[in-house]
Subunit: 479 residues, 2 copies
């Protein structure tokens, strides 16, 4: 039972011991009925006063986590102190069907990522920690004057200053014309998707999404009872005609698209197709949800087609953006651009869910997006991502050419990899766990066995060769 | 058409004009079909270049908000540019039944509060802006080192440091023993209630709540399809026997209580009753949700009974706390203390809804609650609230003694007022709007006509006499 005591912490040592032992019981490291060190032994091991350990054990006992028997010692409690047969059975409350749990494969990967040491997490779709603009955000926190800001409840649609700034940035960076009243600030793109799935659609409604697509594994769609039909992703995006085709068989209520550096394929939909998709959706009266987290990451090399929303002069597109992939996912700032009546409805619902977003990330994000360093930061991230991509592609061409195929991405931070040989996906996942190199298996994205997604934005440059060698080993064992 | 141009703002002037005109069209101040100032006239009025106004009008036209006719001038567009008969009809998407809208009376009061000038908002249940610890929070933002912090996705249950700090604070301030693993950080108490109502209960489930109670007006309960039965609030809280009584007729699934400075009555449940309620709930296996936003505001005068949760040795109580009423509602930090299996389920659902809370308010809150200034701040707020209460009670005894009755509160920040004479509530509300003095009418809290709630935490000391005179006028006109 290895515990670490932080003597500089303000947290009392007895409480540090309580929390860590509870964690070990929860994780199963301390099994039910197993004998604990005696108070004296633990005090000696940790070099703390025996009375400190006595106090910890007292609290663990009163929490029902351990049992002490005179003469025979201290044991991890066998069951929880609550005897379910006599008391509230929480399981009956928890096992409802309203919210389905997160995809078990994703849960396992996240769990493994939390506990592994010295591994490579290429599954988690976020930037490497050193690409977050910590210094710039710290400088902003140093200069913001809080006394000028109302710290009371803020409008559920988001603070005006940030909506104004985004309005300008959408115009200059994305050619999207809108006004602040048509922007809703959300807790990342995730909350925008949650609100759309739960407030604008009804259980049983059919939605069309790209295939493959990250949306396949999103429990929000399943929890909201939506039915999913797929639009095949080709080299330059989905085939707009397929929407009309599907429409004949299904009463499609909404189309979810990620046209720029699509997750997971990295595909960019051509501008011709963007306009065609929009016109078809207008004619069939099916709104488009355009999820656009990656379009700022074009590596500075290529003129990207502007978002579908920029062509949308009839308000048929709900546009979702976010700072998660270009600033920091922990900021939790996303936005939805939508017709005013949609913004009003979703703001009211949002008031019921969480009473609006904290004022602090909103003022920090506003100061950042208004500043000159915002553009500089994005340019820097683009340079570093392109560099990572180049090293990665070189290593893969050298090591994996006989095993896999892939399209070299010109933006975003995913690599979509196809395996040449047949393989067993659960074996592949197991090998990835054994070797502490995590990636997202293809089945998460729909019926895409034989593929997997690597998020190279997470790799340190110096680790890339090492990681690709491990990957080779994993693939060879699983095929 | 009065527009204000901020020349020091980085926001281009043409965009300031666009946003303000759109706001005026949305608010109805600029009616459909009404003639706008010509470009030349508006440029002159605002002392801006005519080309700036031309650019604004171009954008407003492309957004479909105005129409320009050669020779006859510029007009506010009659309908939205989207012809609903030919395009997506958003109304059909918005009018689903999953989420009911906020109580219309509350909506109206909020709306009036946003637009009124020189009025007194005693409806909004939050602290006066000068009671927020702006300077202390600013000092924290100046000293936090962001480079040490992971700005990526943080655990959906909240960051470990804040959960550890709350664990200690719950022990020392509330006599609640728990471990960090049993704490979920939420976006205020609101999100904790949302998660409980939607993940632990099913549509049709019966919940028991205090009568009167703020929970009556909560659209989250109605949106979740819950049925509500009332437990009458007496001088020292509800009658525990009534739970058993109701249980014979209804299959009650949960009991929602706010035992300390209950909203709206200000009542404190006696410790005898707290223990009795807990034992009955254990025996009947009905969990209690204890909502406890006010217990830190005891004006330093009186030994308060500890929360029901502090007696809960069988994990039958879900305990909700928050910084909204003691630090700042705009921080959006609340917490739920619950059995570990409940925390796990709600964290997973929360991941689907918003991917967890922003890291920034969590680190700020953690630094604050750990600091010595936290206790000092709470003592200061208590002193100032007691002082406000004293001035208010003096003024009410002088002016309103013949019109109303009330119990002098010894904590919290609400005054629950009973009118002596019969009156018409909608007349009362109208008079309150006419006089720009807002309060919460009794009907919001269940069938409590003849009552209203004043939040005196919002009043400036020097305004109290003035406000009470207005209140007298309003009551006299409405009865």
């Amino acid at each position: 039972m290895l515990l670490t005591i932080d003597r500089r912490s303000k947290k009392p040592i007895f409480k540090q011991i309580v929390n860590q032992i509870h964690q070990k019981i929860l994780s199963g490291e301390l099994a039910p009925n197993s004998r604990m060190l005696s108070e004296r032994e633990l005090a000696k091991t940790l070099s703390v006063n025996r009375m400190t350990v006595v106090r910890s054990y007292d609290e663990l006992q009163s929490l029902g986590l351990i049992e002490r028997f005179k003469g025979s010692g201290t044991f991890v409690a066998v069951a929880h102190k609550r005897d379910v047969s006599k008391l509230t059975n929480w399981t009956t409350y928890i096992n409802d069907n309203t919210f389905l749990t997160t995809n078990p494969i994703i849960q396992k990967i996240r769990e493994h990522s939390r506990t592994m040491t010295n591994g490579f997490d290429l599954a988690n779709g976020e930037l490497a920690p050193d690409l977050f603009p910590s210094n710039l955000l710290e400088a902003i926190m140093r200069r913001i004057s809080i006394s000028d800001i109302n710290l009371g409840y803020s409008p559920p649609e988001g603070i005006g200053d940030l909506r104004d700034s985004l309005c300008l940035s959408l115009d200059s960076r994305k050619s999207i014309k809108t006004t602040s009243a048509c922007i809703l600030i959300t807790s990342g793109a995730q909350q925008a998707l949650y609100l759309i799935a739960n407030c604008l659609l009804r259980p049983g409604d059919v939605i069309a999404i790209e295939s493959p697509s990250y949306n396949y594994s999103l429990s929000i769609f399943k929890s909201a009872g939506l039915k999913i039909v797929g639009l095949k992703v080709k080299k330059d995006g989905i085939d707009p005609k397929e929407i009309e085709h599907l429409y004949k068989s299904y009463n499609i209520k909404m189309i979810f698209l990620n046209p720029t550096y699509q997750n997971p394929t990295g595909t960019v939909m051509s501008s011709k197709k963007r306009i065609e998709v929009l016109r078809i959706s207008e004619r069939l009266r099916i709104p488009i949800v355009e999820d656009d987290p990656f379009s700022d990451l074009n590596y500075g090399t290529k003129a990207l087609p502007p978002p579908i929303k920029s062509y949308d002069d009839k308000e048929n597109v709900l546009y979702i953006g976010s700072f998660s992939k270009i600033v920091a996912s922990g900021l939790r700032i996303g936005w939805l651009v939508a017709p005013i009546e949609v913004i009003k409805k979703l703001s009211d619902v949002r008031q019921q869910i969480d009473f609006g977003l904290s004022i602090f990330p909103q003022i920090i994000a506003n100061e950042f997006v208004k500043s000159e360093s915002y553009t500089q930061h994005i340019e820097l991230v683009n340079d570093l991502l392109r560099f990572k991509r180049d090293i990665l592609v070189t290593a893969m061409n050298r090591e994996l050419k006989h095993l896999v195929q892939y399209q070299e991405p010109n933006g975003g931070f995913h690599l979509w990899v196809k395996l040449n040989n047949k393989y067993n996906e659960s074996k592949l996942i197991n090998e990835s766990f054994n070797n502490n190199l995590l990636f997202m298996p293809g089945s998460i994205y729909g019926d895409k066995n034989g593929y997997f997604r690597l998020t190279f934005a997470r790799l340190n440059n110096q680790d890339i060769d090492n990681a690709i060698e491990k990957l080779k080993l994993i693939i060879e064992k699983a095929t």
